[in-house]
C-alpha cells in the first residue's frame, strides 16, 4: 500500500512537471512561462531606475560608449567603423532581438517551425517567390567586396556577442510565449531582411490581372481603365526637365530591336499574388534655401508601411572617426537607412516601378524536367524545399527554376485545378549590395557622394531625396530596371516564356534613371507617383498603379510655401486634406437622386455638402464619404472581384474620371442582379443607402467613442461617430497579439492623404531635417524598446497620432546630452 501511494504521488508529480513544461496547443508551457525566475515576469522592466553599466565584450577592438537619451535612443560612439557596426548589432539585438529574427524567419519561409502547420502556405509562398534565393545571391555577391563583408560581419558578430550573454530568463517575452530560443545571426539574415523589404515594396505589378482583364473585356476597355498616364499627371521629375539620356547608347539597345514574341492577351489565369487595394506609399520632399526662412534646405520623409509593434524602425546615432550619422535603422541590418549626418540628409519613398515579370512556362511533360526555349527543350533546375513544421512531420516541396525565374504557381501550388505554370522574374534575385549604398550615404559629404552611393543600388527601387548643408537638393529614382519592349508592352501582361525574345534585354543604365538637381521651382518631391511624364526615352509599364493625390497636394503646398521652416513642415506632414474627396464628392453628389432619402440620409447629404475635405479625426463627413466611396467601387467594379479570375480595380483617379464622363458603360450593371440593369445613378444611390447600414453594423469600442455627445446622432439610433473612431487605427504586434498591440489609436488621415494613416498602415517614421539650424525632428508610432514590458515600447504612439515631434539629440560627444541622458553603457574589449 505504501509503495502504491508513493508511486502514485511520484507519478502525478512527474506528469504535472512535464505538462507544465511543455507547450499545449497555442498556450505557452505554463510553469516555464509563469515562474518568476525564468518566466515572463523577468521581462517586466524596472521602469524606475536607470544606471550606468560596463561590460567586457570579446570581439571589440577598442572602447565603445553608448549614451541613451530620454527616449532610450542610443548614441553609439566608436573609434573605428568595425566597432561601430559591431555595437550597432549588439545594441539593436538588446532591444529588438525577437523582431529581427521573426522577420527573417518570415522571409526565409520558416514560420511553421515556430507556429506549426497554419503557416505552411505562407512559408511555401516566401520560398517560391525566391526570397531566400535572392538573399543567398546577394550574400555571395557582397562577400566579394571585402569592405562591405567586414562591416556586415562585424554587425553579425555584435548581435551574436549579445545573444551569448543571454540566459533563458533574459529571452524576449515572445520567445517564452512561443517556447523557442534565438539562433545565431548571419550575413544571410541581413540579406533576408532587405529581401523582405524588397518584397513588401515590389507588389506593384499586375501582369496576371491585366492579362485576365484584357482577355475578358478587350483592348478598348483596358485603355480606358488602365491608362499609362493621366491628365493630372504631376511626375517626380518636373514636366519639361530635359533628359540627358540616350537609350541608343546602351549596350543592350540592339537586342531590343529584335522585338518580343508577344505577350498573352487571350487567356485566363486563376492565380496572382495578393496585393493591397490601393497604394499606401510614402512621401519625401526637400526645399532649397530660396524657399526657406534660414536660406538652407529642409528635407522631409515619411515612409508609409504596415503599422507594427515592435516598430519597423529603430532610431540611432552612429559616430566613428569616419561618420556622424543619425536616423532610422532597420533592426537586423547595419547602417542608417533614412537619416542625416553633419553634411547631408536623405530619405526614401517607394519607386513603385514594375520590377517583376511573369512568364508562362511550357514544360515538355508532367515531370517538368524540361521546358521550351528557342524551339528546344532545355533542362529545368529543381530544388526540394524542406519545411520543418512544429509538432508535425517535415513538409517537402519541389520548386522549379527556369531562366525566366522561379515557377511560383504550378500544379502543386495555387488554386487547385490550375495546372498553369507561371514563373516570376524579379530584380530582387539579381546580385546586389544595397548595404554599400547606405554605408556611402551614411559617410556622404555632398551631392557627388550621394549620386555615387546610389549607382549600384538595385531593389527595392526607391526615390532617394537629398539635401545638403551646402545648399543642394536633388531626387533620383534608383533601382535596376529591365529594358522592355515598348511595342508589345512587355511587362504589362504575362509573357510567353518560350524564347530569348521574351527575356529581359538588359537593364537601363543607372545614370539614365530619372533624376533632377536643384530644379528652378525650388523643391523636389515624390509620393509614389509616376517618375516621369511620357517623354522619358525608356519604356516602362505605367498601368495606372501610381498614386495621384498626395503628390499633387504636396506640390501645391510647396509651390505656395514661402519662408518655410520646420513648423511649416510639421503641419504639412500631418496635413489631412483629402484631395480625392474634393474631386470625387462633387461628382457623387451631382449624381445622387435625392427624391427618396430618409431624414437621416438628408442630414448626411447636408453634412457632406458643407465638408471642407479635411479628414480630421473629429469630423463625421469623412466617414460618410469613405463608406460611400468604398461601397460604390464595390458595386461599380464588381466585375473585377471574381475570386477565380484575379483582376485589378481601376485606380481612384480613373474611377472619378469614369463616373464623370462615361454615363452608359456596361460596368455600371451589377452582376449580382441578373434581372436588373443598373445605371450610373442607380449604383451611386445604392452605395449611398449603404452608409447607414454599415454604421449600424460597425462595432465601436468604448475607447474610441470620444464624441458620444454628437448632437446629430445618438448612440442608440445610429452609430455614426467621427473619423478617428471609425478608422480605428491599430498598430498591431508582429505575432498578432492584441494585448501587445496599440489598439484604437485616434488619428486623422487616410490613404491618398499626406498623413496617410488608415486602419493598418501609415507613416512609420516622420523626419524633418533643417539643414540651416542643423536640427532634426522625428517621431514614429512605437518606441525604442521591443519589449512589451518596457515603458519605452509604445511611448511615442500618442505623440505620433497627435502629429507631435521630438527634436533629435544630434550630438558630437556624449556629455552634450546633459540632463537628457538616461544612462551610459561602456563596452571594452
Amino acid at each position: 500500500m505504501n509503495y502504491f501511494k508513493f508511486i502514485l504521488s511520484a507519478f502525478v508529480t512527474v506528469v504535472l512537471i512535464v505538462l507544465l513544461n511543455s507547450q499545449l496547443g497555442v498556450a505557452p508551457p505554463f510553469a516555464k512561462f509563469l515562474n518568476p525566475y525564468q518566466g515572463f515576469w523577468q521581462n517586466a522592466e524596472n521602469t524606475k531606475t536607470w544606471k550606468d553599466d560596463e561590460a567586457h565584450v570579446p570581439g571589440l577592438k577598442d572602447e565603445v560608449k553608448v549614451y541613451f537619451d530620454e527616449r532610450l535612443v542610443p548614441h553609439v560612439f566608436a573609434k573605428n567603423d568595425q566597432d561601430l557596426y559591431f555595437m550597432q548589432g549588439y545594441i539593436t539585438a538588446k532591444y529588438r532581438l525577437w523582431q529581427m529574427e521573426i522577420q527573417t524567419h518570415n522571409a526565409a519561409g520558416r514560420v511553421s517551425e515556430i507556429v506549426g502547420e497554419k503557416a505552411i502556405d505562407l512559408d511555401r509562398m516566401q520560398r517560391r517567390i525566391g526570397l531566400g534565393y535572392g538573399a543567398e545571391t546577394a550574400q555571395e555577391y557582397i562577400a566579394k567586396d571585402p569592405a562591405s563583408k567586414q562591416l556586415i560581419d562585424a554587425y553579425c558578430d555584435g548581435v551574436n556577442a549579445y545573444i551569448k550573454t543571454l540566459k533563458p530568463k533574459d529571452y524576449p517575452v515572445e520567445y517564452k510565449l512561443l517556447n523557442y530560443k534565438p539562433e545565431a545571426w548571419t550575413p544571410l539574415k541581413v540579406a533576408l531582411l532587405l529581401k523582405n523589404m524588397a518584397n513588401m515594396l515590389s507588389v506593384f505589378e499586375y501582369d496576371i490581372e491585366n492579362t485576365n482583364f484584357i482577355t475578358k473585356y478587350g483592348d478598348q476597355n483596358f485603355r480606358e481603365l488602365y491608362p499609362d498616364f493621366i491628365d493630372a499627371e504631376d511626375p517626380i521629375i518636373p514636366v519639361g526637365t530635359p533628359w540627358n539620356v540616350t537609350p541608343q547608347d546602351s549596350a543592350d539597345h540592339s537586342k531590343m530591336q529584335a522585338g518580343n514574341a508577344g505577350v498573352i492577351r487571350n487567356e485566363l489565369f486563376a492565380n496572382a499574388l495578393t496585393k493591397p487595394d490601393e497604394i499606401t506609399g510614402s512621401n519625401n520632399w526637400a526645399v532649397s534655401g530660396s524657399k526657406t526662412k534660414s536660406g538652407k534646405p529642409i528635407l522631409c520623409n515619411d515612409p508609409h508601411l504596415r503599422l507594427s509593434l515592435p516598430s519597423i524602425w529603430y532610431e540611432m546615432q552612429l559616430v566613428s572617426p569616419n561618420m556622424n550619422v543619425y536616423g532610422a535603422t532597420l533592426p537586423g541590418s547595419p547602417a542608417v537607412i533614412i537619416g542625416f549626418n553633419d553634411s547631408i540628409s536623405w530619405g526614401v519613398t517607394n519607386g513603385g516601378r514594375d520590377v517583376r515579370d511573369w512568364y508562362k512556362i511550357k514544360f515538355k511533360d508532367a515531370s517538368r524536367d524540361e521546358y521550351e526555349y528557342n524551339g528546344q527543350w532545355v533542362k529545368a533546375e529543381k530544388k526540394v524545399e524542406r519545411y520543418k513544421v512544429r509538432g508535425k512531420p517535415d513538409v517537402l516541396d519541389t520548386v522549379v527554376y527556369t531562366r525566366f525565374g522561379i515557377v511560383v504557381f504550378d500544379q502543386n501550388f495555387g488554386t487547385a485545378g490550375s495546372k498553369k505554370n507561371l514563373a516570376m522574374r524579379w530584380t530582387a534575385h539579381l546580385p546586389s549590395n544595397e548595404f554599400k549604398t547606405f554605408y556611402q550615404l551614411n559617410c556622404g559629404k555632398n551631392y557627388d557622394d550621394y549620386i555615387n552611393a546610389l549607382k549600384n543600388y538595385t531593389c527595392p527601387a526607391q526615390n532617394f531625396v537629398f539635401a545638403s548643408r551646402s545648399g543642394d537638393i536633388a531626387i533620383k529614382q534608383q533601382g535596376r530596371f529591365p529594358l522592355r519592349d515598348r511595342a508589345s508592352e512587355q511587362g504589362k501582361f504575362i509573357s510567353n516564356g518560350t524564347s530569348d525574345k521574351d527575356e529581359w534585354k538588359g537593364f537601363i543604365p543607372s545614370a539614365d534613371n530619372p533624376t533632377v538637381k536643384n530644379p528652378e521651382r525650388g523643391f523636389v518631391s515624390s509620393a509614389n507617383q509616376h517618375p516621369t511624364d511620357s517623354t522619358y526615352p525608356y519604356y516602362y509599364p505605367g498601368l495606372g498603379v501610381y498614386e495621384n493625390y498626395r503628390n499633387r497636394r504636396i506640390n501645391k503646398l510647396l509651390t505656395d510655401g514661402k519662408d518655410i521652416d520646420a513648423d511649416f513642415m510639421k503641419k504639412m506632414q500631418t496635413d489631412n486634406y483629402n484631395l480625392l474627396a474634393s474631386e470625387a464628392l462633387p461628382v457623387l453628389l451631382s449624381l445622387l437622386n435625392r427624391s427618396n432619402l430618409n431624414e437621416q440620409e438628408k442630414k448626411m447629404v447636408e453634412e457632406l455638402s458643407k465638408w471642407d475635405y479635411y479628414n480630421n479625426a473629429g469630423e463625421v463627413s469623412p466617414v460618410y464619404f469613405e463608406i460611400w466611396w468604398n461601397e460604390l467601387r464595390k458595386l461599380l467594379w464588381d466585375e473585377m472581384m471574381d475570386k477565380n479570375v484575379p483582376m485589378k480595380q481601376p485606380n481612384f483617379y480613373v474611377t472619378v474620371e469614369f463616373l464623370k464622363h462615361d454615363s452608359t458603360s456596361v460596368f455600371y450593371d451589377n452582376l449580382s442582379t441578373p434581372n436588373k440593369k443598373e445605371t450610373r445613378e442607380d449604383i451611386v444611390l445604392m452605395a449611398f443607402k449603404r452608409i447607414e447600414d454599415t454604421l449600424r453594423k460597425k462595432e465601436f469600442t468604448e475607447v474610441n467613442e470620444p464624441y458620444d455627445n454628437d448632437d446629430n446622432y445618438k448612440k442608440d439610433d445610429l452609430k455614426a461617430h467621427d473619423w478617428g473612431s471609425y478608422k480605428d487605427t491599430k498598430i498591431g504586434h508582429l505575432a498578432m497579439l492584441d494585448p501587445f498591440s496599440s489598439m484604437h489609436v485616434y488619428s486623422g488621415g487616410n490613404i491618398g492623404i499626406i498623413n496617410a494613416t488608415n486602419t493598418t498602415n501609415g507613416p512609420s517614421w516622420r523626419m524633418i531635417v533643417d539643414e540651416g539650424a542643423m536640427k532634426a525632428y522625428v517621431v514614429y508610432p512605437g518606441g525604442e524598446s521591443g519589449n512589451p514590458g518596457s515603458a519605452y515600447y509604445d511611448n511615442m504612439v500618442n505623440s505620433w497620432a497627435k502629429g507631435q515631434y521630438y527634436e533629435a539629440n544630434f550630438i558630437k560627444q556624449g556629455d552634450e546630452l546633459g540632463t537628457k541622458k538616461l544612462f551610459t553603457s561602456s563596452f571594452k574589449p
Binding site: 505504501n2 509503495y3 501511494k5 508513493f6 504521488s9 511520484a10 502525478v12 508529480t13 504535472l16 512537471i17 507544465l20 513544461n21 505554463f30 510553469a31 516555464k32 509563469l34 515562474n35 518568476p36 525566475y37 525564468q38 518566466g39 515572463f40 515576469w41 523577468q42 521581462n43 517586466a44 522592466e45 524596472n46 521602469t47 524606475k48 530568463k169 517575452v173 510565449l177 497579439l737 492584441d738 494585448p739 501587445f740 519589449n787 512589451p788 514590458g789 518596457s790 515603458a791
Partner: protein, 114 residues
C-alpha cells in the same frame, strides 16, 4: 508545527538559491528531499511544499511586477486570458509552483515511509 515551519523555510531558502541557475522544476527535488528528511505527516509535507513555493513565487513575481507598474503583467493577464487581472495571474503562478512543490514534498514523505 515546528517541523512544518522548518520544512517551509528549507524549501523556500534552497529553491531561492538554486532557481536563478537551474530550470524551474528544481523546486521538485528540493521539496522531495525536504519531505524525505523532515519528519511530519503526509498532509503537512504537502502543505509545506505548497506554501513554500507559493510564497516564494508570488512574492518574487510581485516584486518584479511592482517595479514595472504591472505594465507587462497586465498585458499577459489579458492575453492568457484573465481579464487583465494581475492578482489573478499572481495567484495562478503561485498555485502552479505550489502544486508541483507540494506533490514533490508529499512524494518525498511517502518515500521516507517505505
Amino acid at each position: 508545527m515546528k517541523n512544518f515551519v522548518v520544512s517551509v523555510f528549507v524549501i523556500l531558502f534552497l529553491s531561492s538559491v538554486l532557481q536563478p541557475f537551474l530550470p524551474w522544476y528544481i523546486i521538485a527535488p528540493v521539496a522531495f528531499f525536504a519531505g524525505y528528511f523532515i519528519k511530519q505527516s503526509a498532509l503537512a509535507a504537502f502543505g509545506a511544499g505548497f506554501w513554500a513555493i507559493f510564497l516564494l513565487w508570488v512574492s518574487y513575481a510581485f516584486v518584479l511586477t511592482h517595479a514595472n507598474n504591472d505594465l507587462l503583467a497586465h498585458k499577459v493577464a489579458t492575453l492568457l486570458p484573465m481579464g487583465g487581472h494581475v492578482s489573478m495571474l499572481l495567484l495562478v503562478t503561485g498555485i502552479i509552483g505550489g502544486l508541483v512543490s507540494g506533490l514533490a514534498a508529499l512524494s518525498g514523505r511517502l518515500a521516507a515511509a517505505l
